[in-house]
Point group: C2
Chain length 220, copies 2
DNA sequence: CTTGACACTGAACATATGTTCTGTTATTAT
DNA sequence: ATAATAACAGAACATATGTTCAGTGTCAAG
């Protein structure tokens, strides 16, 4: 728990860097002797000595008596990439698709990969799905034709969150910042020059999901 | 090269699935005996037998005489994630920062991770850098305060590409779709309701980079 | 039936590899 | 200077682990 404070010595860093590159290149961790060869450490016991320190500092995990039994933490890349299913289009004139809550397994073909660091910290990736924006009717939400919006499944929103909503009275899907204020709903466009929409009957707005990320790929 | 055609037997699949989960959980590949234990294969030689087949079929690579020397191909996650340096802000009233072309090594702290699949196919990650949009002056480019734009280093643009430009005559940075038409430059806003800017003297526009990706994180 | 390819067994073997231990050198504190 | 702690060396050791090989059973082609 308590760390010394001196952080990482050059040798610690050298070992970690080697672990990372070796693992990236070969797909399995190096042996103690291989680490020694590439970090100018002549004795296996010294490498072992540093590996134990790195484990203490929580940079790696080790399994005793296991060859190459080193788990490089932190940069555990598997955990940094999330595949989000692209389930359909979002169009102003139509209800948007929302995957069922038991919808779980991903279809590798129709998913987009997003670095987890771009997503809100606490979110479970299973609750996320993506939609492609169709048409230019979301321009006042600063979302363009072809953009991808990553949504989080939810039926309720907190004030200030950007949500996708279905407006019963005018049969329209729209993206707005949501505010519930003394019984009436205020929908604010992302473009601050636009006037808000005030809706006195909250039952008219059906919250489809919360916008978590907007991605615009400028290809070509 | 030529594959049999019968694809993967249940045992092949079982082994691959185990390799993947073991690697994800422990950070290093399993030994032959561990594979056998978890796939109901009693003999190490049979596991070895299947591993050789999987290598033949290009699902894995093996290093002989190396403990746990298995490289699970295909899901080589390392290659799917790109770290792009976040080098500064882009503000309408100031020139934007552009990293020098010999700028190479990344600072792990100030980078954003992006799945390579989101980026244009041919781009070299070294040519990419990211800027955070500051202020609401880019609204007509459908880019909001706080958005992150990923740029590609370039001094010239093809028609139809979205570029960041510095306008000499009015001391302004802006994001626009670029068109060079019979000697004059047409700058089109992303918002199609806006009128284009026509500039007869092309020397006034300095192309700072090409917009490759726009990311908007709706946190909270 | 015979042949041969394929899937599999079990054990022996060689060695790659983590572990441990004794001792030396360097660094820092008292 | 002296003591104490950290950093390192080298070798011996135990074993985890890949490799090999002589067989067994199965099944389809000839």
């Amino acid at each position: 728990m308590a760390r010394k404070r001196t952080g990482l010595s050059p040798r610690h860093k050298k070992i970690l860097a080697f672990l990372e590159s070796f693992l990236a290149e070969r797909g399995y961790p190096p042996s103690i002797r291989e680490i020694g060869d590439h970090t100018q450490i002549s004795s296996t016991s010294v490498v072992n000595y540093y590996l134990n320190q790195l484990e203490e500092m929580n940079y790696i995990e080790r399994e005793s008596n296991v060859s190459r039994g080193i788990n490089l933490l932190k940069t555990s890349l598997a955990n940094t990439l999330v595949s989000i299913p692209l389930v359909g289009n979002i169009v102003a004139g139509e209800p948007m698709p929302v995957p069922a809550s038991d919808f779980s397994y991903y279809d590798p073909d129709s998913g987009i990969d997003v670095a987890r660091s771009l997503l809100p910290a606490g979110d479970r990736p299973e609750d996320l799905y993506a939609l492609r924006v169709h048409g230019e009717s979301m321009i006042d939400a600063m979302v363009n034709d072809g953009d991808i919006v990553v949504m989080k499944k939810t039926n309720q929103a907190r004030n200030g969150e950007m949500v996708a909503i279905w407006l019963n009275d005018r049969d329209e899907t729209t993206l707005k910042y949501f505010y519930l204020e003394n019984g009436q709903v205020r929908l604010q466009s992302a473009n601050p020059t636009m006037k808000p929409i005030i809706i006195s009957d909250p039952s008219i707005v059906e919250i489809q999901g919360k916008v978590v990320l907007v991605i615009r790929q400028l290809d070509q």
